[in-house]
Symmetry: C2
Subunit: 583 residues, 2 copies
């Protein structure tokens, strides 16, 4: 007998299925309420003896009451449940419900949710109530307030874009078309949020109110359906941390325990607007199964059972999630997407065990984990190419192709910078070495003295953009490497460039003699080759294959010398010296 409480789940789809695995691992007895005996979730965990999973609609009062009688805690894998029954069940002391039915009810009404968040100081896009069957004039009045374009939205039962209609003009025809599309549901309007990225954060909260967030992810939608997540969120300095803090703050205003998916917009100016919250495991957290120390599913169970919350840390430097959506009633494209991932290293296929495919139905997903964004990017291109609706114009912005020779990589691990284009000839050997070791890098000019602001911005953003080392070349009063080191937490490698006087000693001293507190890894004068090799050794601490590559490189150096030893012995040193002079 497990000493754990029995959990009842309303809903037996893929989210329930992914809850069954940690439940089995932790010995948590689960009962799943849904119609059918072979739903995705029921396939992957037997009910605890002597029970069987209840068969019936998860909205049915009698079924919920029957389930509650056998369980210690009820939870949901979908928010479109009967919150009233859940509230009564809890009031009657029949069973605990997590998260709180009140929270589920609040979230079911998108307008009420938005108002509650705004009232609690959470930044959201401007919005206004419209009600049921608003008149043309009502819509026009709201449009005057919010501006165009704006979104008309159903307050309830809206997901995957099904309750949204964008409005570009206040023509009668346009308004009528939108209102007809949305039908006679209660509506509200939302001002357009011209976001640069969509962002999501999973947050787990226990009954004591302890809140832990996962790293933010970038979510990429197509026709309002989530297609790809990239973790962690890259970009502006600190945006990941700010997104987490906002999500934690929003969830701290909700009642009850469990995992919450918080969706946000990242605006041009770096600010964040909260879009909406899901009171359950969420598609934007599926990567946490492989990529994090504790998955969103396990943490949901831990939270509702008052077990210690698990660490939300990433276990890998870079991860992605790609949905496998049905494209028709045929299962062939689904199997094709799954099978194509089998030959991609680091890809984990998750099929949901659904017997029938439909257009846009979530049939499974693929998680990718990688040692770097660049490695992930390459593998992601392979995975995306197997999506039935993929084309270059969709794939390239998500996972850019390899750069043209002598151009910067879109997901660099090393940044090469120099104070002046006159340093370029000295710095080019570094690019040759990085090319040879297939390290993604970027190269640009930024000067400590002539472009100080650009230098500071570059240095401050470097770590958040995924760089792991910076190579900086400078000559004379060579301040660039040390100044960059002062504005980043990355290792900075300084290359003293020999200027027209002092033989490079001025550059060397300027770079190596940094004050205590700010280190700069200095290599020999004009020796950008060694700077690149040092960067590779640094990368080797997180990418083990580069250790092997470095050993092979050293071995090759040894062999080259040994060849010369042989020729010297054979030809004699006078001939050898004469021939060397000719080269």
């Amino acid at each position: 007998m497990s000493p754990r409480k029995t959990v009842g789940i309303l809903g037996g789809g893929q989210l329930g299925r992914m809850l069954t695995h940690p439940a089995a691992l932790l010995g948590i007895p689960l009962l799943i309420l849904d119609s059918g005996s072979y739903t995705p979730a029921k396939q992957t965990l037997l009910a605890p003896e002597p029970h069987s999973h209840p068969d019936g609609p998860f909205t049915s009062e009698s079924h919920i009451r029957e389930l509650a009688a056998k369980c210690d805690v009820l939870t949901v894998e979908i928010e479109h449940v009967n919150a009233d029954v859940l509230e009564q069940v809890e009031k009657e002391g029949l069973c605990e419900v997590q998260p709180a039915p009140k929270t589920i009810r609040l979230i079911q009404d998108k307008y009420a949710q938005k108002k509650y968040l705004a009232d609690n100081g959470i930044p959201v896009a401007p919005f206004a109530e419209l009600g049921v069957n608003p008149s043309e004039q009502d819509v026009q009045a709201v449009a005057l307030k919010l501006g165009l374009p704006m979104m008309l939205k159903a307050k309830t039962l809206a997901y995957d874009g099904r309750g949204n209609s964008p409005l570009q003009s206040t023509d009668s025809a346009a308004i009528k078309a939108s209102l007809d599309f949305l039908g006679d549901r209660p509506l509200y309007a939302e001002g357009w949020a011209p976001f640069v990225k969509e962002v999501a954060v999973m947050v787990v909260r226990n009954k004591e109110g302890e809140v832990r967030s996962y790293d933010a992810v970038e979510t990429i939608h197509r026709e309002s359906i989530l297609r790809v997540c990239l973790a962690p969120l890259r970009g502006h300095r600190g945006v990941n941390q700010r997104a987490r803090e906002l999500a934690e703050k929003a969830v701290s205003h909700l009642e009850g325990a469990g995992i919450f998916g918080v969706e946000m917009f990242l605006m041009e100016d770096g600010s964040l607007l909260l879009n909406e919250i899901a009171p359950r495991p969420h598609n934007s957290g599926h990567h946490t199964i492989e990529a994090c120390l504790t998955s969103q599913f396990e943490n949901h169970l831990r939270a509702i059972l008052s077990l210690p919350l698990g660490s939300t840390s990433l276990r890998v430097p870079s991860a992605a999630m790609i949905n496998i959506l049905g494209s028709s009633s045929s299962m062939d494209p689904v199997h094709h997407m799954a099978d194509s991932a089998l030959s991609v290293p680091g890809a984990a296929v998750h099929l949901y065990g659904k017997a029938e495919s439909r257009k846009a139905r979530k049939m499974g997903h693929i998680t990718l984990t990688a040692e770097s964004d660049a490695e992930l990017n390459e593998r992601l291109r392979e995975i995306l190419a197997a999506q039935p609706d993929a084309d270059k114009s969709w794939i390239d912005p998500i996972a850019p192709p390899a750069p043209e020779p002598a151009h910067s990589h879109a997901k660099p691990l090393v940044g090469i910078i120099m104070g002046s284009d006159s340093d370029l000839p000295v710095m080019l050997p570094a690019t040759k070495i990085l090319d040879q070791f297939k390290i993604p890098y970027e190269l640009t000019i930024t000067s400590a003295h002539r472009t100080p602001e650009r230098m500071v911005q570059y240095a401050k953003a470097a770590s958040g953009r995924g760089l792991r080392a910076i190579i900086a070349g400078a000559g004379g009063a060579a301040h660039l490497p040390g100044m960059v080191a002062s504005e980043t937490s990355l290792p900075v490698i300084g290359v003293p460039v020999k200027a027209s006087v002092l033989d490079g000693v001025d550059s060397l001293y300027s770079i190596v003699q940094m004050p205590r507190g700010i280190p700069c890894a200095t290599v020999g004068i004009n020796n950008s080759t060694n700077a690149a090799l040092l960067a590779i050794r640094i990368l080797g601490t997180s990418i083990p294959a580069l250790n092997v590559a470095t050993e092979e490189y050293s071995k090759k150096l040894e062999e080259e010398v040994l060849v010369k030893v042989g020729i010297l012995a054979e030809e004699g040193w006078e001939k050898y010296a004469a021939e060397r002079l000719k080269k």
Copy 2:
């Protein structure tokens, strides 16, 4: 309908259970043959509709035949199966069997297995046949040949030490006791292998003969039962690679597809002896679920179904597996072990769903993943402390305690070395910084000129021991940093120590002006503080928390200066300068 072939598994225990998860993810229909309807494996995956899992002994011919009729491929989760029936089933074309029944039969007989491996050039401990009920004289004759102590072993049905008896002397009484313990099974004898470590490698092989190994692990047994695995294997240079090559070679001599567990002894001189092979998923590969890109279980299914083999690479720098064994019929200690892991970051609990506990029964396991051996070590100590039979003398050799102040850590990430004890005062500030950032390090003396062999050995072993950076201090003709850089693929940070003449410029030039090909990261003269801070930035590329720590450190430096700015403005510069002089 899944397009995948249906797999039948003989055995429904924990190994079968761990096969069900990837089967569900990949949409592989599974039928599990074992007695009972609620075995560990049957709990976690329904049989494909309209089937149910067959209920009966996995050794029963009629049940195997019935299973074969419903499946495309049969496989095993235990080797003590009826190999004859499997062979017939395959001969009759009823069903494919993987791995080959011939291989299963070979492995069932430990003596035949050892002889086959030895005949194929695989190094094994010396051994000799004894047969059924050998006489005292037979045993004495073998002891003369193999030496004492030696092991008497049952050829078949021996696992977890149940068929082994060590023989320390050839006294009649000792021989009789051993033979009585082993009973009237066919026996053989094995010479003692005075190993320094036990090592295991999981190897997957597909039908085309492609073979891929996982990183080697150190296996730690107690009373012949596996208790702890540490991945990857640390130690002598190249031992991990050599163990993998030996395991791959051994498996390449076996027929059929699937995953194989290869157990080895690592001897004092660094050589490896093969101990035995399991033709199935193995306890020493359980960490692969969380720690590797593709688990041993998924790769077994991929191999037997001719799907592309998955990458065997580690996803994390350091991992461990700790078995949860029953200690009596009480489940309490089992739950205690599982629960204590919930508050350890990076610990994943796997309970096997067994209803009854018995002494030494495998009830579950815990996987630990960590960013470094040191982090793993600390967490492992917590996990081990919850084992009912744990005491300091058992835990400390597996997971050493934190060092005394000013002593080297057992699992260092940074090595500080210097050419002479006269460099110690200059190098001590590096230790203060590493202590402050809680970085595990070691400190020792090795001289390029006075202990050249020791220096080379240190440098060559550093990477395999888990170090990620070396700080080397030297003065005058300062060869140590560059020479060490020549013998390792790790980043080496050189600290030029100011000697009695030339103001340290000789040291600086000797360290920084390395030839193209071998980089040395040079910091300012006598500035070991910056060397340590640089090492921390390098570690930060694989341990994200150190990025944050570096930013906080820089912030503190800034604040310290700002405090001085305030005092200067308040007191005036004359008083300030006078007070500074007094310090």
